[in-house]
């Protein structure tokens, strides 16, 4: 998680009082997850950048309607994801989300967990290819939950569906992915 709700509330109060630096801090805190979320929704880095920028401006305009005590991150991500969807819709073009693997961990990256090390590089590549080969709905719900590590509430906000639907959609997506993994293991 980036930041705690209590800190966010303080930043919102300061931003509403006219402190530009406070909103700047909110932008800095959430710009990475906002941009990556928009990328998962739009499949395009250029659209994701535009959507994140416009999303932060729209969130600022709506800041005084933000509910007291609510969590800022899902609210922000919902606005950014809506913006990304609108861009895809209005441009009439849909980019296929193609996720790729890093070529090893670069200096400064977090050290991989022991479990991550245990998964062979080839297996990871094959698994990602299978995720990329899923339907858009399946790919987006898996990317939101496991790659962006969004909560159920945040995933629901980003995909514009109820939290219960996130659970059922994720369960079905995992079942389809598991079937492909088993199918490949059987044919190997």
């Amino acid at each position: 998680m980036e930041g705690r709700p209590a800190d966010d509330s303080e930043l919102i109060r300061r931003a509403l009082r006219g402190e530009a630096a406070a909103y700047e801090e909110i932008v800095q805190r959430y710009q990475q997850v906002a941009f990556r979320t928009a990328y998962v929704v739009s499949g395009s880095a250029a659209d994701a950048e535009d959507a994140a920028q416009e999303g932060f401006v729209k969130a600022f305009r709506a800041l005084d309607r933000f509910r007291i005590g609510a969590d800022l991150r899902p609210w922000l991500l919902r606005i950014v994801a809506n913006e990304a969807r609108n861009r895809v819709r209005s441009s009439g073009r849909r980019h296929q989300l193609e996720l790729r693997l890093t070529e090893g961990f670069r200096p400064g990256d977090a050290a991989p967990s022991p479990e991550a090390v245990a998964v062979a590089s080839d297996e990871r590549r094959r698994l990602l290819e299978m995720v990329n080969g899923l339907s858009e709905d399946d790919r987006q719900v898996i990317a939101s939950r496991y790659f962006l590590e969004l909560s159920g509430e945040e995933t629901a906000a980003v995909l514009g569906i109820p939290e219960g639907t996130v659970k059922s959609r994720l369960s079905r997506a995992l079942a389809r992915l598991r079937a492909r993994v088993e199918e490949e293991a059987a044919s190997a």
Partner: protein, 257 residues
């Protein structure tokens, strides 16, 4: 073989995301005078834009300038002076009061759950047509909006006849100077046994000490006669184009809901 969900979580650590760009956010001016209009990351441009706007505003303030600019731009516009502007439509679109920057529409019950003081509602006006809750000032601000009240005209283009606002804080008379415009007067009154103030004219700003002890400049949304008084740490404002006596009568009917 590790569990599929664990594999996916590990895979997430190795995704090559596109580099996150440095976002440049130009913030719009906020309604209600509590915000700012400058871009966050390019203030030099903002200052230049502000200077241009100031010059344009100064020029546009005078009819001869407006006409000269119209001729210069050759836009074929005829500017005429209207002594009596047409009556605006009775109600703006959307929820009543949604254009006033009062916060999020809510219900009395939900608003009560969000604030610490006991909300009171003027029985003389009946149930409000809309209820709003705002995150600021500290501790929240609850507003009741009334569209039609017998004998009280709708204020300007707002579609609102009476606006009642409740907030935690203290009235400080030393801040009253901020409210005083050329056509604004302040008179001491007594409301339900509490000292109060009748502000007549077109006040735009009311500054008070909020629950955190900080001076908070709030906007008087209807910019019309306003009754202000504090009741046990709660400041209540009644904005309406009405008489002092009627406003005090409305305040006298306030009851815990």
């Amino acid at each position: 073989m590790p569990d599929l969900e664990q594999q996916l979580t590990d895979l997430g650590q190795a995704i090559a995301w596109p580099a996150t760009p440095k976002l440049v956010i130009s913030l719009p001016a906020r309604r209600g005078g509590l915000g700012w209009g400058a871009p966050l990351m390019n203030r030099r441009w903002a200052m230049a834009a502000a200077a241009v706007l100031l010059i344009l505003a100064t020029l546009l303030a005078y009819t001869p300038s407006r006409e000269a600019i119209a001729r210069w731009l050759n836009v074929g516009v005829t500017i005429t002076k209207v002594q009596h502007p047409p009556t605006p439509s009775a109600l703006p679109s959307g929820t009543l009061g949604s254009e006033l920057g009062l916060g999020l529409p809510t219900t009395l019950e939900q608003a009560q759950r969000q604030v610490k003081w006991k909300i009171t509602v003027p029985a003389a006006l009946g149930p409000p047509d809309a209820v709003y809750l705002r995150i600021l000032p500290e501790g929240g601000e609850v507003s009741f909006v009334y569209a039609h009240v017998e004998g009280i005209p709708v204020a300007g283009e707002t579609g609102v006849a009476v606006l009642v606002t409740e907030v935690q804080g203290q009235v400080r008379t030393e801040f009253f100077q901020k409210m005083l415009g050329p056509n604004t007067t302040i008179e001491d009154v007594v409301v339900n046994g509490h000292p109060g103030y009748w502000v007549s004219g077109s006040p735009h700003t009311f500054v008070f000490l909020d629950a955190s002890g900080e001076a908070f400049p709030d906007t008087l949304r209807l910019a019309t006669n306003t009754l202000i008084f504090a009741d046990g740490g709660t400041i209540i404002r009644i904005e309406a184009y009405t008489s002092k006596e009627r406003a005090i009568q409305i305040a006298g009917s306030l009851q815990a809901r």
